[in-house]
C-alpha cells in the first residue's frame, strides 16, 4: 500500500508477518483508511488502550491488511476529548468494533449508532473496564438492558426473537428476525452474552503464560490463537522458534483445520436432513482427535504451542501413523464427498441458499473460509508465508458462488490441502529445539501475531509492560468481521434455512464477545 502522499511517517512493527505502524491524527486516520480502501486494503481490527498513565491519553489502533502485509494506524486521543472519526462508512465492519471500544474504554466514534455492544447493564454504564483505574474486582449484580432493535413495519410483518439460549449445543446469542410468512426481511444479531472480560484478564498477566488465555479465546481455534500470541511475543522479544518447532506448530494448526472442517461437514449434512453425514463425519473427526491426544497430549491441541516453541516432539512411529491416517481420511472423504455431491435432497438445500456475492463480500470485508467461498481468495499462509508455509506452499481454495454449497466445497478442498500439508510436514520435519528461551520483552513494545486459523485469520496484538507483564492484549477473531455479513446472507431466505446458513459460517461467539 502506498501511503507516501499522506506524509505520515511509518516504521516497522514487530510481527509474525510484514507489518508497519503509522501515527496519524483524527482526520489523518479517516483519510488513511480511505486511501487504504481505495488501494484494496481491508480492515482487520480496531481497538483502544488507556495510556493516560504515560501521559498519552487514549490510543486508538486500527489494523488494515493489503497485499504487502499489515499496517497499524495509531491515533492518540487526549484524555479530555476522546472522540474520533467514524470509520464505518469506509469499513462497515468497524461499526461494532467502535461500539465495543466505547463500552470497554469510553472513547467514542462520532457515529450515528451509539447503542452499546458489549455492555449489557452488568456494570455501571459510566465505568469502563479497560481503563486502568477501573475496579476490576468490584462486584456488580447482573442487570438487563433494553436493546433498541431496528424494527420493520408493515402489513403481515412479525418478529421472531431467538436466544440467547439456543435449541442445540451451541453458544449463546440473540437473533431478532423480522419476517413475512416464512421469508426473512431482516435479521439483527445481539451478541456479547459470553463476554467474560478476557482483555482485562490479560492485563498484568506474565507475558510468558498469556498463551494459555489466548488459547481459550475460542476453544475451537486454540492452536491458531496460541500460535498468534506466541508469534506476537516472540516478535517483541526478538526470539525465533526453531524450524522444527515451527513445523510442529503447523502440524497442529492443519490438524485443527481438518478436525473442525470434518465436524462442520457432518453438521451441515445433518442440518440438511441427512443424518448419515453427521455420523460418518463425526466418526472421522473423533479418530483425528484421538490421534491428536497421542501427538499433542490434548485432543484439541490446547497448550501445545507455547512461546518459544511447542511442548512435545513427534512420538516414535508418529510419522507412519500420521501418513496412514492421511490415506484413510483421503479415501473416506472421497467416498463421502461423492455421496454429498450426488444427493439431490442435500444439494437442493445447499445450493442458492444464503448467498453472499463476491461484490458484497468485498464491500463488507468478509474474511477467512466464508470469504474464500465468496471469491475473496486471501489466506495468510500463502499471502505472508511464515515457516513452514514458505517452503511447502499453500493452494488456496476459492470459489465465487457464495452460497452454502460453496462454503461446503471450500471445506472439502481445504481438508484435501491440509492433508497434503500434514504429509509434507511429517516427511520433511527439520531438526531443531522443541522450545527455546524467550528473551525478556522490552517494556512498552508492541507486536502482532497473525495466523490463518480454520475459520479465518486470527490476530493477536500484544503490548508488554515492565517486568515481562502484559500491558495490553487484544485478540481478534475473524468472526467479528463475518457476523454482520451473516445478517445479509439470510435476507430473502426462509426462516428454516437459517440454521443451515448459520452453520455454514460457523462463527465464534466467544471469540467475538471476549
Amino acid at each position: 500500500m502506498d501511503l507516501s502522499r499522506l506524509k505520515f511517517a511509518t516504521a516497522t512493527l514487530p510481527a509474525g508477518v510484514p507489518a508497519r505502524r503509522c501515527s496519524v491524527d483524527g482526520s489523518g486516520l479517516l483519510t488513511s483508511c480511505r486511501v487504504a480502501w481505495e488501494q484494496g486494503a481491508r480492515l482487520v481490527a480496531l481497538w483502544g488502550s488507556d495510556d493516560r498513565d504515560r501521559d498519552r491519553g487514549f490510543t486508538l489502533a486500527v489494523v488494515v491488511r493489503d497485499a504487502d502485509g499489515l499496517v497499524m494506524f495509531e491515533h492518540t486521543l487526549p484524555a479530555a476529548d476522546s472522540t474520533y472519526p467514524d470509520l464505518s462508512a469506509v469499513f462497515p465492519a468497524a461499526g461494532r468494533m467502535q461500539r465495543a471500544t466505547f463500552d470497554l474504554l469510553g472513547i467514542a466514534a462520532d457515529s450515528d449508532d451509539q447503542r452499546p455492544w458489549v455492555w449489557q447493564a452488568s456494570w455501571p454504564i459510566d465505568c469502563y473496564p479497560l481503563r486502568r483505574d477501573f475496579e476490576a474486582l468490584a462486584k456488580w449484580q447482573p442487570g438487563q438492558e433494553e436493546y433498541a432493535f431496528v424494527r420493520v413495519e408493515g402489513d403481515g410483518v412479525h418478529e421472531i426473537p431467538v436466544g440467547p439460549v439456543h435449541a442445540g449445543i451451541i453458544e449463546p446469542g440473540h437473533f431478532r428476525f423480522q419476517v413475512v410468512g416464512e421469508k426473512v426481511l431482516r435479521l439483527e444479531e445481539r451478541l456479547s452474552f459470553v463476554h467474560k472480560g478476557i482483555e482485562k484478564r490479560f492485563e498484568g498477566m506474565s507475558a510468558a503464560t498469556g498463551h494459555r488465555l489466548a488459547g481459550r479465546v475460542s476453544g475451537d481455534s486454540t492452536v491458531a490463537y496460541a500460535w498468534a500470541y506466541s508469534q506476537a511475543l516472540e516478535a517483541i522479544a526478538e526470539t525465533a522458534p526453531s524450524p522444527r518447532a515451527s513445523w510442529l506448530r503447523a502440524l497442529a494448526l492443519e490438524r485443527e483445520r481438518i478436525a473442525n472442517h470434518l465436524g462442520d461437514l457432518g453438521y451441515l449434512g445433518n442440518d440438511g436432513g441427512f443424518a448419515f453425514g453427521l455420523s460418518q463425519f463425526s466418526r472421522l473427526k473423533e479418530q483425528v482427535l484421538r490421534t491428536n491426544l497421542a501427538l499433542f497430549g490434548h485432543r484439541l491441541g490446547m497448550d501445545y504451542v507455547v512461546p518459544g516453541g511447542v511442548t512435545r516432539d513427534l512420538p516414535a512411529g508418529g510419522r507412519v501413523s500420521i501418513a496412514d491416517e492421511c490415506s484413510m481420511l483421503e479415501r473416506e472423504i472421497r467416498v463421502l464427498r461423492d455421496i454429498y455431491d450426488e444427493h439431490d435432497g442435500l444439494q437442493d438445500r445447499f445450493r442458492l441458499c444464503g448467498i453472499v456475492s463476491p461484490e458484497l463480500a468485498a464491500k463488507l470485508g468478509l474474511t477467512g473460509l466464508a470469504g474464500r467461498a465468496s471469491g475473496q481468495a486471501h489466506d495468510v499462509r500463502r499471502d505472508f508465508p511464515a515457516p513452514p508455509y514458505d517452503t511447502l506452499g499453500v493452494n488456496v481454495a476459492s470459489v465465487s458462488a457464495g452460497d452454502v454449497a460453496a462454503r461446503v466445497a471450500v471445506r472439502f478442498d481445504e481438508i484435501a490441502e491440509s492433508l497434503r500439508l500434514v504429509r509434507a510436514i511429517v516427511d520433511g520435519l527439520p531438526d531443531g529445539d522443541l522450545v527455546v528461551d524467550v528473551r525478556e520483552p522490552k517494556a512498552f513494545r508492541k507486536g502482532l501475531g497473525y495466523v490463518e486459523g480454520w475459520r479465518g485469520p486470527v490476530l493477536v496484538a500484544l503490548e508488554c509492560g515492565p517486568d515481562g507483564a502484559v500491558r495490553r492484549c487484544h485478540p481478534h477473531d475473524p468472526s467479528v468481521a463475518n457476523w454482520p455479513v451473516l445478517e445479509h446472507a439470510v435476507i430473502g431466505n426462509i426462516v428454516p434455512d437459517f440454521p443451515l446458513i448459520n452453520k455454514s459460517f460457523n462463527l465464534s461467539y466467544s471469540g467475538q464477545d471476549l
Binding site: 452488568s122 474486582l137 440467547p164 448419515f276
Partner: protein, 173 residues
C-alpha cells in the same frame, strides 16, 4: 442410494462400551434416589453454554458420535429446558448469561439435576471471577455433579452424567 448403504455396511458398528460412573464427581446428593426412581434409564439433557470458550461444546458434541453413542444409552439432548431432566452447564457464568441461566433452571421441571462442565464450570477456571464473570456454575444455580477438565474428554463427560443419574451410593456426599 447403493453407495450410502455400502458405506454404512463398510463402517459397521463403532460404538464402545460406556465407562463406569465417576461417583467422585458428585458434589450433592439431594435428589438422586427420587430422580433414579422417576427417570428409570431414560434421561433428557438440556445444554446451556453460560460463558464457555466453546471447547467444552466440542466435546459435548462428540458424545453423539458413533464411538460414544450417548443416545444408545437412553440419554437424549433436547431443545427446551421444559423437556429436560438434567442441565449440562458450561461456564464460567458470564454476568450477561446469569439471568438466562437462572430462567432456564426455573423452566426445568422438578426433579432436576445440574451438571457443571469443565474447569470453568467447576471453579471459573482461567477466567475466574471478575466484573464480567461470576465464575463457577454453583455460584448461580445449585449443582449436583462437577466434571473437571479443560475441556473434559467425552469419557469424563459420560462418567459424570452417569454418576448424576445413578442412585447415591452409601458414603458419598
Amino acid at each position: 442410494m447403493l453407495h450410502i448403504l455400502r458405506q454404512i455396511a463398510r463402517t459397521g458398528i463403532r460404538t464402545e462400551d460406556p465407562p463406569a460412573p465417576a461417583h467422585d464427581m458428585v458434589v450433592a446428593t439431594r435428589l438422586h434416589e427420587a430422580i433414579a426412581r422417576t427417570l428409570g434409564r431414560a434421561l433428557t439433557i438440556r445444554h446451556v453454554d453460560a460463558g464457555s470458550c466453546n471447547g467444552c461444546e466440542l466435546e459435548i458434541h462428540a458424545l453423539a458420535n458413533p464411538y460414544y453413542n450417548i443416545e444408545g444409552l437412553g440419554i437424549k439432548f433436547v431443545a427446551s429446558p421444559r423437556h429436560a431432566d438434567l442441565l449440562l452447564v458450561t461456564g464460567p457464568v458470564s454476568k450477561h448469561m446469569a439471568i438466562a441461566l437462572k430462567r432456564t433452571y426455573e423452566a426445568t421441571p422438578d426433579p432436576k439435576l445440574v451438571v457443571a462442565v469443565g474447569e470453568c464450570g467447576c471453579s471459573g477456571g482461567i477466567f475466574g471471577e471478575s466484573y464480567a464473570s461470576l465464575g463457577a456454575v454453583r455460584n448461580v444455580i445449585p449443582v449436583d455433579v462437577e466434571i473437571p477438565g479443560c475441556p473434559p474428554a467425552p469419557t469424563a463427560l459420560l462418567q459424570g452424567i452417569l454418576a448424576a443419574i445413578s442412585a447415591a451410593k452409601p458414603g458419598i456426599g
